[in-house]
């Protein structure tokens, strides 16, 4: 034997030890303080498009010891939220700064102990930088500052002027806004459209239209949707939910939907192939349209007022999970990104409507035009209603309930169910996931 027993036994032990070590390998690094010139890497977890690239660059220039890495750019919310929930549950993995969408905010507020109170880092000085209701949304009932507002989802209706021209409808945005003061007028315009244009829908999908109508009606009504403000599921007793449902069913019944499930490949391709003429268009949707329709459709899209008045759909917050290593630095970054200047930069980059009155009043926002949307004055279109926005309260399992309702709407679009049967199903399913 040229190989000694010792070596072989050592090899065997080393092998098994190696395996065990590999398993235990994900041990914690020594905790580093947030001090002075130490190199700090901050991770920002987002979904969709927040438009922070320039701001990161600016921040890193001002703070040479900080590097910033953004994760999740372009991810859809349905994938993002469970991941964040898991990171919080397991106590590791979350970014130093995380984005929270308003629809899931209540769920995270219920776990306020997993987030830093940003008051500790001086964020209470920022209160006046935000619309009062946005600031309130980010604060827990016991006064903890959990999230700083990024944007609000002021509403409008985006439309393709080339398809409108083909259908003999007006194309100038003022005329289009006048065309549909109400949802009934909108449906009538859609019917006219469909008599002329056969190979495109008037809307992309019933679900987007439904969400717009629901948020609008809720804002004008009781200020809540599936859940009341005491977190009781009221999907079957809150009249605005059924009203929004019925209006959506009218839209679908008139054959206006292109039936493209949102956030799928077919939907994305629908933008490129001009498969629908209008889409419910909160401010953040303009960035999505530009990304999906591509340069080829520049100047073909425009923005008009939403039927039935304004409203709010979507908008997010930045929070700092307590599990992070550099919480003070993270809070500083979150405050910088949500500052009026930060919000103006994000608006310029991706069209996300600021939640800061100073930013909304700023000339850079007020006078902004979006050249992709035929030079539409996005600043005035969205900004005008933003200060008067009525917030809508969204309950703890809002996203799960919404998934069930959207599925029921799709079921009608696909011809699997009648509107009545689908409504019964939606209510039953919502109760099931909310229980």
């Amino acid at each position: 034997m040229t190989v000694s027993w010792r070596r072989r036994a050592f090899a065997a032990v080393a092998l098994s030890m190696g395996a065990v070590l590999a398993i235990a390998g994900c041990s914690k690094e020594p905790a580093g303080g947030g001090g002075g010139n130490q190199k700090i890497n901050l991770i920002v977890d987002v979904f969709g498009t927040f438009g922070y690239e320039d701001l990161y660059r600016q921040y890193m220039q001002a703070n040479p010891n900080v590097t910033i890495q953004e994760r999740g750019t372009g991810a859809n919310l349905g994938d993002y939220t469970p991941k964040l929930t898991q990171y919080l549950a397991s106590g590791s993995g979350a970014g130093d700064v995380v984005a929270i969408e308003e629809g899931t905010l209540v769920q995270f507020k219920a776990q306020a102990d997993k987030f830093e109170d940003l008051k500790k880092y001086g964020a209470d000085a920022d209160a006046n930088n935000f619309l009062p209701w946005k600031w309130e949304q980010g604060t827990t009932p016991d006064g903890k500052i959990l999230g700083l507002g990024t944007d609000v989802g002021g509403m409008a209706m985006c439309y393709r002027s080339d398809l409108f021209a083909a259908a003999g409808l007006p194309t100038a945005r003022e005329d289009v806004s006048k065309l549909w003061p109400t949802w009934d007028a909108y449906i009538a315009a859609g019917k006219t459209f469909k008599t002329k244009v056969k190979d495109a829908g008037f809307i992309d999908a019933g679900t987007n239209t439904f969400n717009l109508i629901l948020m609008q009606m809720a804002g004008n009504g009781g200020g809540y949707t599936y859940y009341d403000k005491s977190n009781n599921l009221v999907i079957d007793t809150n009249p605005v939910v059924k009203q929004a449902w019925d209006k959506t069913m009218e839209v679908i019944g008139a054959g206006l939907s292109a039936n493209l499930q949102s956030w799928t490949d077919g939907w994305t391709a629908g933008f490129k192939n001009a498969k629908f003429a209008t889409i419910a268009c909160p401010a953040w949707m303009t960035g999505v349209i530009k990304g999906n329709a591509g340069d080829g459709a520049a100047g073909k899209w425009d923005i008009a007022a939403a039927p039935g008045g304004g409203g709010n759909w979507g908008g997010s917050f930045l929070a700092v999970p307590s599990q992070g290593k550099n919480k003070a630095e993270a809070a500083k970054l979150a405050r910088f990104l949500t500052s009026p200047q930060g919000q103006i930069a994000a608006f310029k980059s991706k069209g996300n409507l600021p939640s800061s009155p100073q930013a909304l009043a700023d000339d850079a926002v007020k006078n902004a035009v979006n050249d992709y949307f035929t030079n539409a004055p996005t600043g005035t279109i969205y900004g005008a209603g933003a200060t008067a926005l009525k917030p809508v309260y969204l309950g703890p399992k809002n996203q799960d309930v919404r998934d069930q309702v959207e599925n029921a709407i799709r079921s009608v679009e696909q011809g699997n169910k009648t509107p009545d049967a689908a409504w019964t199903q939606a209510v039953a399913d919502a109760k099931k996931v909310a229980s």
Binding site: W5, R6, R8, A9, F10, A12, V13, L15, S16, G18, A19, V20, I23, N76, L77, G78, P82, T85, Q86, A89, Q107, A110, Q111, N259, L260, Q261, S262, W263, T264, D265, G266, W267, A269, G270, N273, K275, P396, K397, D400, D403, E406, N407, A408, R410, S411, E413, Q414, G415, N416, K417, K432, V433
Partner: protein, 337 residues
């Protein structure tokens, strides 16, 4: 541990100068024979230990932990609300989303696996014959299997697209109206099964091919002398002789098929993809498991689904083995092999 002790012993006397070389040699020899026995007895266990350590950590422990969780009412937001016995299981059996998911999973498994194994058998039979560029073909059928499942999913989701899909375009050529492949149960099952078959038919063919090559040639020769046709030879010699291999392929396909997840998820797409379509028409058990445990964070209920899925696979596998044994025995009896 014994290694450590020994290392200590060796290190001790090494530092002072050796008093007597012969004594040391003798002591060493005694030691080495003891070491030899130790080596002989213990080494094999140490060599296999990494697998069992890994299995224990990543296999057995989660399995037992899941069973424990499944007996509790535990959701993420509310926390662990304590022991509830078999409540999660009894609720599951009444849950029409769960029974629907089981129906979808078993349905897609049958729609996918039966043609897949038959096709694999035929392909293997063809590849087992003399032909040009045989190795090229044999390797070629494995290519779909080594492509990423998500890539396959994305491509097939586009092929089966309602408005721009290749499949609907071809159907349109023969006058069939566009099919919304995601809308109905049979359409989504067909599309997803096609994806599964695309990936796994080649793999199963190669396994069958390997087994076919082990069948003695003289069986075929004597059958040919007796005047048996190729078709008859295939059913009466090849299939019965492949029985163990077919059982293997069926079990592997069962385990894989009942855990179907990525294909339907990518195929449905969008925000609510995990629900498996507007009517949950393509939601498999694993998708429902992920939905409850990792979307709605009902850990206890999700754990119960995991255990029922395990039992389901076990039952179907046993049934399959029984079925294949019966069929193959029937074949071989009739062939008189």
């Amino acid at each position: 541990m014994s290694l450590h002790l020994d290392a200590g012993r060796r290190a001790g006397p090494a530092s002072p100068p050796p008093p007597d070389a012969t004594a040391r040699t003798l002591a060493q020899r005694r030691w080495s024979s003891r070491r030899g026995r130790f080596d002989h007895k213990v080494s094999p266990y140490i060599y296999v230990a990494p697998f069992f350590v890994l299995f224990g950590v990543f296999g057995l422990y989660p399995l037992i932990y899941t069973a424990w969780v499944s007996l509790r009412n535990w959701d993420y937001i509310g926390g662990d609300k304590g022991f509830v016995g078999l409540k999660n299981y009894t609720e599951l059996l009444k849950d029409d989303w769960f029974t629907g998911a089981v129906f979808n999973t078993v349905g897609m498994f049958i729609v996918a696996t039966v043609p897949q194994l038959l096709l694999a058998l035929m392909l293997a039979y063809a590849l087992n014959r003399q032909m040009r560029a045989r190795t090229l073909f044999r390797m070629g059928i494995l290519v779909p299997n080594i492509t990423s499942v998500v890539a396959v999913g994305i491509i097939f989701a586009q092929l089966f697209s309602r408005d721009w899909g290749l499949i609907n375009w071809v159907l349109g050529l023969v006058g069939v109206d566009p099919i919304d492949w995601r809308a109905s149960q049979w359409a989504s099952w067909t599309a997803i099964s096609t994806m599964v078959d695309w990936r796994w038919t080649g793999y199963n063919s190669l396994i069958f091919l390997a087994a076919m090559q082990a069948i003695p040639k003289d069986l075929y020769e004597s059958a040919a002398i007796d005047g048996a046709s190729t078709w008859r030879q295939f059913w009466k010699i090849t299939v019965p002789m492949l029985r163990p291999t077919i059982i293997f392929a069926v079990i592997i396909s069962t385990i894989g098929g009942l855990q179907l997840f990525t294909e339907p998820l990518v195929f449905i797409g969008g925000n609510g993809a995990i629900l498996g379509g507007s009517e949950r028409q393509a939601q498999t058990v694993t998708m429902y498991l992920v939905e409850t445990a990792f979307r709605r964070f009902d850990f206890g209920y999700g754990a119960a689904i995991a255990w029922l899925l395990f039992l389901l696979i076990l039952i179907i596998s046993i049934f399959n083995v029984w079925l294949v044994r019966r069929l193959a025995a029937y074949g071989s009896n009739k062939a008189g092999v």
